[in-house]
């Protein structure tokens, strides 16, 4: 394990925080969408856990994470330590890993120009915040859509950043930066969410066709979603993955794990539960 310092913490809620780690020897090279294993001491041992990186590979100042402190049925050991940690505390980390990374080429070697649709449930948004910043910083011209599902409005952790990226897309023009962001709140009836006027329901409902035969996603992008024009990246609880696949399987989309003989696929996912 390498050494680093926790240089920034921000609690968005009691159980949701943004953490930045500055490695002693500089931010390691990684691909957008990968995770980093962090470690903190507990009772003379080091407790490790992997967290998806939310910052972009181009950011060489720090590595950022958005982390939920799940406490039921039991509080996670490392996450509990992180939520008690102070800026300036030392932390260890292991090299970045993970396969939920952006495809730049197709199996036949051609450039992958398909629309990128990212679906993140809760803190499953993190790899896609990294995607968005990376694709922005590298002037990628592909169309990018980020869909974020949460139970409560105060869980929309990167709403401002992603809204700013969409506003930039509108002002610059889609030919320069083509980005859209939408969120869905699954508990719209709750008092905290009383002022929410965005999409209501589970995030995968963006894929469900309405009476007009189009899904909200298709209405957003202005064309039919097919396996030839779109690749999906999904991160969240297994229930979110399953919900997304229920819609996509019906359209003959296949996952990377079940790719066709020619190596083609249209869905990459990572679940954390």
């Amino acid at each position: 394990m390498e050494n680093g310092t926790i240089t920034y913490t921000q609690l968005l809620r009691e159980d949701l925080g943004i953490f930045r780690v500055t490695p002693d020897d500089g931010v390691p090279d990684f691909k957008a969408g990968q995770f980093l294993t962090l470690g903190l001491p507990l009772e003379s041992k080091i407790v490790n856990r992997a967290y998806s990186i939310a910052s972009s590979p181009e950011n060489k100042e720090y590595v950022e994470f958005v982390i939920r402190w799940v406490r039921k049925p039991l509080p996670g050991r490392l996450t509990s330590l992180l939520f008690n940690a102070k800026e300036g505390d030392k932390i260890s980390w292991a090299k970045p890993a993970g396969n939920l990374t952006i495809n730049d080429t197709l199996p036949n070697g051609e450039k992958d120009t398909r629309r990128i649709v990212c679906i993140g449930g809760g803190t499953g948004l993190a790899p896609f915040v990294s995607f968005a910043q990376h694709l922005h910083d590298t002037n990628d011209k592909r169309e990018i859509v980020i869909l974020h599902g949460a139970s409560y409005v105060d869980e929309l952790s990167y709403k401002q950043l992603l809204t700013d990226l969409e506003n930039e897309s509108i002002s610059k023009g889609k030919d320069k930066w083509n980005f859209k962001y939408r969120a869905a709140i699954s508990r719209p009836q709750e008092w905290t969410n009383r002022a929410w006027h965005g999409h209501k329901g589970r995030i995968e409902q963006f894929l469900r066709s309405n009476d007009s035969g189009k899904s909200p996603l298709e209405e957003l992008v202005g064309e039919k979603i097919t396996k030839d024009n779109t690749i999906f990246y999904v991160c969240g609880w297994q229930g979110t993955i399953d919900g997304v696949m229920d819609y996509l399987k019906a359209k003959n989309f296949v996952t990377e794990k079940n790719k066709r003989e020619d190596g083609s696929y249209e869905v990459k996912f990572e679940s954390y539960g």
Partner: protein, 127 residues
């Protein structure tokens, strides 16, 4: 994953049984963990102390407290009762079959006997 199926009671009748168990009870209602009021009853001769929006806020605060209390379940066991005394009303909540019972009573009364009566009703319904 198999999900535990819990037989749900007739909340309309259960709320009435609770309301009728003691004349000092002003209100009885059940909410689920998504803030949905399953059913509630209030004494006919009483005006609500809160506006509709404030009732929503009150339920939100109650559920937030309930959810957070569950973070200690692994050490302290299941929550059985929470009680808040205001100047104008006494409120208590009791988890029941995965839902939360909300009860308000007249202020500054001996609430122990009322809680016992309510628990007795719940015990009968749990059979």
């Amino acid at each position: 994953m198999a999900e535990e199926i819990v037989q749900q009671p007739n909340y309309e009748q259960l709320c009435l049984d609770i309301l009728n168990s003691d004349k000092n009870i002003r209100f009885a209602g059940f909410v689920n963990d998504k803030s949905k009021i399953l059913h509630s009853v209030q004494r006919n001769d009483l005006d609500s102390l809160l506006t509709e929006n404030e009732i929503g806020m009150s339920i939100h605060y109650t559920l937030e407290r309930w959810r957070k209390a569950q973070n200690f379940t692994f050490r302290l066991g299941k929550e059985r009762l929470t009680l808040t005394e205001y100047d104008n009303v006494t409120l208590f909540t009791i988890p029941f079959k995965g839902k939360l019972l909300l009860v308000s009573t007249e202020p500054r009364i001996h609430y122990d006997p009322i809680i016992q009566k309510v628990n007795s009703v719940l015990t009968d319904w749990a059979k």
